[in-house]
Every structure is written in structure tokens, then in C-alpha cells.
């Protein structure tokens, strides 16, 4: 199983790196860097406002747009692209465990998109924190944000991977979930919020109430960080496990 995961990861990481779509998504992910440069120029000397802007970019762009889009595409691709492209036999007629194929591809695509997100996050954050580059706390915060986005990437990718293994129109369901459910549920009070991934991600970020987008945390009743991390890891492993199970049991027929 481990050998399968390693070999599949290597192959698809290499394949993913070479694809044109990766370049398009990478460009998309660089918007915060461009904004960071503009903000530094516009808000020169007003570091607290700069950080407030960064928080907004993190919440709105990274958390609720970029990782959802990237994980939706790459997560559903784990299985769907093999079926649509009819390349599945190249994997399933080799001495590779089916679960290993899923986990290996999941890991490869998560690594790719996490890399894209991290480059963008690090560049935009460090540009905006230019005056505090000498402080250890700066890097601590960066690691925290990167960790949150990584957990989010893993959880979403696992969820969409699962969708891709058993649904034909996984993209549409994924869009409805990622941009419909995840957005709407945040306005619900009490425990309802806990039925979303974004709730746990926001629980791990420093809470703030300033700015135009405070409405997005208006009803946030955060879960404790330890529980949030545990839940995210459980979501990841749970959906990944289900994806492996479905992939092992299901037959995939190609459209001729």
C-alpha cells in the first residue's frame, strides 16, 4: 500500500506540475500578491490597517474562494479525470492497490494546490508584514495561516475526492456545497455552523470584527482549536476512507 501511494504520488505530482491548468490556477492564486503590493503602496506606514486587509484577503479570497475552487477541481479530478479520459485501466491493471491509487493521487494533488496556496499566502503575507520581517511572531503567524489553509485543503480535497468516486456530476454538487452550503450555513446560529468545514477553519484563525467582511464572522461561535483540528483531520480521513472504499467496490464504465 505504501509503495503504491509513493509511486502514484510521484507520477501524478509530476503530471500535475506539467499541466496547463496548473499554470492557470497558479496565476489565479497570485492575485493576493498583486493586491499586497498595491496595499503596501496605498497604506504605507499604516501597518494595522494593512494587516486588517490581509485578514480580509485571507478570509474572503483564500478561505472562501481559492481553496474551494482548487480543491473542487483537483479533488473531483482524482477519480473523474481517469474516467473521462479513459486512462483508468492504466492504473487498475497494474500491481497497485485501489486505495493506494486514491490516496496517492489525493496526496499529489493536495500537495500541488497546497504549494500554490502557500506560495501566494507567504508572498502576500510577507509583503504586507514587510516591517516585521525580523520578528519571530511574523513567521509564527504565517505558519499558523499556512497550517489552517493546509487543513482546509486536505478536508475539502478529501470531500470532493469522495464525491468524484461515486457521482458523475460531482462538480455541480461540489459547487453547490462549496459556494452554496458553506456560505449560507455561516449565517445560521448555534450548532448548525458546525456542519460546515469553513466553521472549523475560521475557528483556527484569530477572530476579528473589523472591516467590511465582519458579516462573515458575525455569527461565528468558534470551536476550540484542538477540536477544530481533530474534526478537520477526521473529515479528511473519513472522506478519504470512503473514497477508497467506493473506488475499490465500484465498477467504472466509460462513455463510448
Amino acid at each position: 500500500m505504501l509503495r503504491t501511494i509513493r509511486e502514484v504520488f510521484t507520477f501524478f505530482f509530476f503530471l500535475g506540475k506539467r499541466s496547463r491548468k496548473m499554470k492557470v490556477f497558479f496565476l489565479l492564486s497570485l492575485l493576493p500578491v498583486a493586491l499586497a503590493v498595491l496595499v503596501r503602496i496605498a497604506f504605507a506606514g499604516r501597518s494595522s490597517e494593512v494587516m486588517s486587509v490581509f485578514q480580509e484577503i485571507l478570509m474572503v479570497y483564500f478561505l472562501q474562494f481559492l481553496i474551494v475552487i482548487l480543491t473542487l477541481f483537483y479533488g473531483t479530478s482524482v477519480c473523474s479525470e481517469e474516467i473521462e479520459g479513459k486512462t483508468l485501466p492504466y492504473l487498475t491493471t497494474r500491481p497497485l492497490t485501489k486505495g493506494g491509487i486514491i490516496i496517492g493521487k489525493f496526496a499529489a494533488y493536495t500537495a500541488l494546490l497546497a504549494l500554490m496556496v502557500f506560495v501566494s499566502l507567504a508572498a502576500s503575507y510577507l509583503i504586507m508584514s514587510f516591517q516585521k520581517l525580523g520578528e519571530a511572531a511574523t513567521y509564527g503567524a504565517l505558519l499558523r495561516y499556512a497550517g489552517v489553509l493546509l487543513l482546509g485543503s486536505m478536508a475539502y480535497t478529501a470531500m470532493f475526492t469522495f464525491l468524484g468516486t461515486f457521482l458523475k456530476k460531482s462538480i455541480l454538487i461540489g459547487l453547490a456545497f462549496g459556494f452554496g452550503w458553506e456560505t449560507a450555513i455561516q449565517y445560521f446560529p448555534g450548532s448548525t455552523q458546525r456542519f460546515s468545514v469553513v466553521h472549523y477553519l475560521k475557528s483556527l484563525l484569530p477572530y476579528y470584527s473589523a472591516g467590511k467582511f465582519s458579516i462573515l464572522t458575525f455569527r461565528l461561535e468558534p470551536t476550540s482549536p484542538a477540536v477544530a483540528v481533530l474534526v478537520l483531520l477526521l473529515i479528511t480521513s473519513g472522506f478519504l476512507g470512503l473514497a477508497c472504499l467506493f473506488f475499490s467496490l465500484k465498477e467504472y464504465m466509460f462513455e463510448d
Binding site: K86, P89, T93, R94, P95, S248
Partner: protein, 308 residues
């Protein structure tokens, strides 16, 4: 010889559509041709053998082990799928080495095997081109290369000659025969009868999901007693020869070729006919130029069995 591939009561449905019905057979080392028209169930059978589909009824085993979800078995199996599908954005070399890496070979071994496979299919010069830029024939050849790169014991080829030019087909057929001589088991499917005939006389005929016949093509032909054999003889005195056979009970029909130099005999006892023919030729010192069996080929066998 023990069968390498065995199926027992193998059946597969796609909803209400029957893909394969109650197939029980064994495939031994050597080349076996799987023959049938489009939609006969060849690809379904191949997909069941390679674990891509799960049987509804029955079982498939390769080398004594059930194939569904048994990934270890694939170390000894090479499969060339029918569909023209690839990871288009990488080169032939990257495609081949990438797939070979799944077998746990070392880097040096992967390189050596990939070079050998590319050499076999004559793609060494184009190995660094993206597959997207390959012609139809090149794509078919790289598909074959990935099936043989790891030196499998069992090779399953679904329409391997499709898209190849006549020279390419000849080379591939020659290659398949080489693998047979090495003692491997090769199952080749096609709907083009001369291609199968050029490779092997051992066939499985499939139509509408059912196996119509299995075995040596001549033996299968002989089994079809309801349909007489047709034998064409070209000689100097066709009418004289015909007179010698007219009273024989096993001769069903005699007619003459358009040129007048040949006669065509229909008989349901081929052995008896040839025995008598030898006698007649010796007795009358008749000069026979040519003897052929126009229907002792796959097309005729298939047509008879399908009931055309």
C-alpha cells in the same frame, strides 16, 4: 496444458442489457484469438479478465487466483486497452517510465525496460515527443509498449492492430508470435478476421455475449456438421473428375467454376472425400493444379455459426 485464464459461468449485465452470458472456458499458453463483431462482448470479456468489471455471476481467475481487486496478479499481466486514451501532456518516454515505476523496479531497470519496449515498437526516435503529437499508429504502438514493458507472462490485447498500417500490423503480428514462442499466454481480440487468422488458429468466437465456439479453427469447422465443406479443385478435366464423384453418397453438390477448369464440391464428409480424391487422381493420372477450401477459414466458420 493447464489453463492460465479460467472463467466459470461468467455473466455480465449492464442494467437490462446482457453483455456476456454464461462463459466457461480456459485459455492456455499460446495465442488465442477472441473474435466477434462490434458489440459481441469482446471488450466486456476483456474488462472482466482484467478486473475492470466485476462479474454478476460466475468467476474469473488468472493463474489460479480471482482477479477482482487482486492487484498482485497484475505484476504478471500486461493489458493493452482498446480506447485511444493517454496522459496527453507527457512524452512517450515519461508515459512508459511512469507506468513502469508502478511495478517497484529500480530506476536503472525502469530505464532499461523502457528503452527495450520503445525499441521493440520502433518509437525510440520519438520518445521525447508529447503523446499529443503522436500519429494514430504511434499511439497504438506506445499503448502496446506499456503492455509489454514489464515483461508480463500474460498479455491481453484489445484490438491491438487497430490504426496500424499494413507494415505495422505485420511487425506486431510477428512480435506477438515471438511472445508465443517464449511460452507466454496471449489473448488477442479483433473483429477483423484475417488479422486473427494470421496470428493463430486457436480461436474463441463470441456473438451477442455468448461463446459460439472455441478451439482450433479447423476443428471448429469440422464440428459444424450441418454445414457442408466446400472444396474447390482446379484440374485439366473438371467434368471427368466430377463424373467420378457424382455417385458418392457424401457428395451433396457439384458445380463448375466459371472458367470451366475447376469444380466446386460440397460434402459433409471431408475425410472420405479427400481419401477418394487421392484414389481417383492416382488411378486416372489426373493433373490437379490446385485444391482449396474456400470456407475453411474464419469468416466462413463465423458466418455459419452466426447463421448468415
Amino acid at each position: 496444458m493447464t489453463a492460465v485464464i479460467e472463467t466459470r459461468n461468467l455473466s455480465k449485465w449492464y442494467g437490462n442489457v446482457l453483455g456476456l452470458s454464461d462463459v466457461s472456458l480456459g485459455i492456455e499458453p499460446g495465442i488465442t484469438g477472441l473474435l466477434g463483431p462490434n458489440g459481441a462482448g469482446k471488450s466486456t470479456f476483456m474488462k472482466l479478465l482484467t478486473g475492470q468489471l466485476k462479474p454478476n455471476i460466475g468467476s474469473v481467475s488468472i493463474l489460479g487466483r480471482r482477479i477482482w481487486n487482486h492487484f498482485d496478479a497484475f505484476a504478471k499481466i500486461g493489458f493493452c486497452p482498446e480506447s485511444d486514451a493517454f496522459y496527453e501532456e507527457i512524452s512517450g518516454w515519461e508515459f512508459l517510465t511512469g507506468l513502469l515505476s508502478f511495478y517497484g523496479f529500480s530506476k536503472a531497470e525502469i530505464r532499461a525496460r523502457a528503452e527495450k519496449a520503445l525499441d521493440i515498437v520502433n518509437l525510440t526516435g520519438d520518445k521525447d515527443r508529447k503523446i499529443r503529437g503522436y500519429s494514430r499508429g504511434m499511439r497504438q504502438r506506445i499503448k502496446f509498449a506499456q503492455a509489454i514493458g514489464h515483461d508480463p507472462e500474460i498479455i491481453i490485447l484489445d484490438e491491438p492492430l487497430s490504426g496500424l498500417d499494413p507494415l505495422g500490423k505485420r511487425k506486431l503480428i510477428h512480435l506477438i508470435k515471438d511472445y508465443r514462442d517464449q511460452g507466454r499466454t496471449i489473448l488477442v481480440s479483433s473483429h477483423v478476421l484475417p488479422e486473427i487468422e494470421a496470428m493463430t488458429s486457436r480461436i474463441i468466437l463470441i456473438h451477442q455475449g455468448k461463446i459460439l465456439a472455441q478451439g482450433d479453427i479447423h476443428y471448429v469447422r469440422d464440428l459444424i456438421e450441418t454445414h457442408p465443406h466446400v472444396i474447390s479443385i482446379k484440374c485439366g478435366d473438371a467434368r471427368g473428375l466430377a463424373a467420378k464423384f457424382v455417385n458418392e453418397p457424401y457428395v451433396l453438390k457439384i458445380h463448375f467454376g466459371p472458367d470451366g477448369d475447376s469444380l466446386v464440391v460440397e460434402t459433409h464428409k471431408r475425410d472420405a472425400f479427400f481419401g477418394r480424391l487421392n484414389q481417383v487422381v492416382l488411378e486416372s493420372a489426373l493433373r490437379v493444379e490446385e485444391i482449396t477450401s474456400p470456407d475453411d477459414n474464419l469468416q466462413a466458420v463465423f458466418d455459419y455459426l452466426v447463421g448468415k
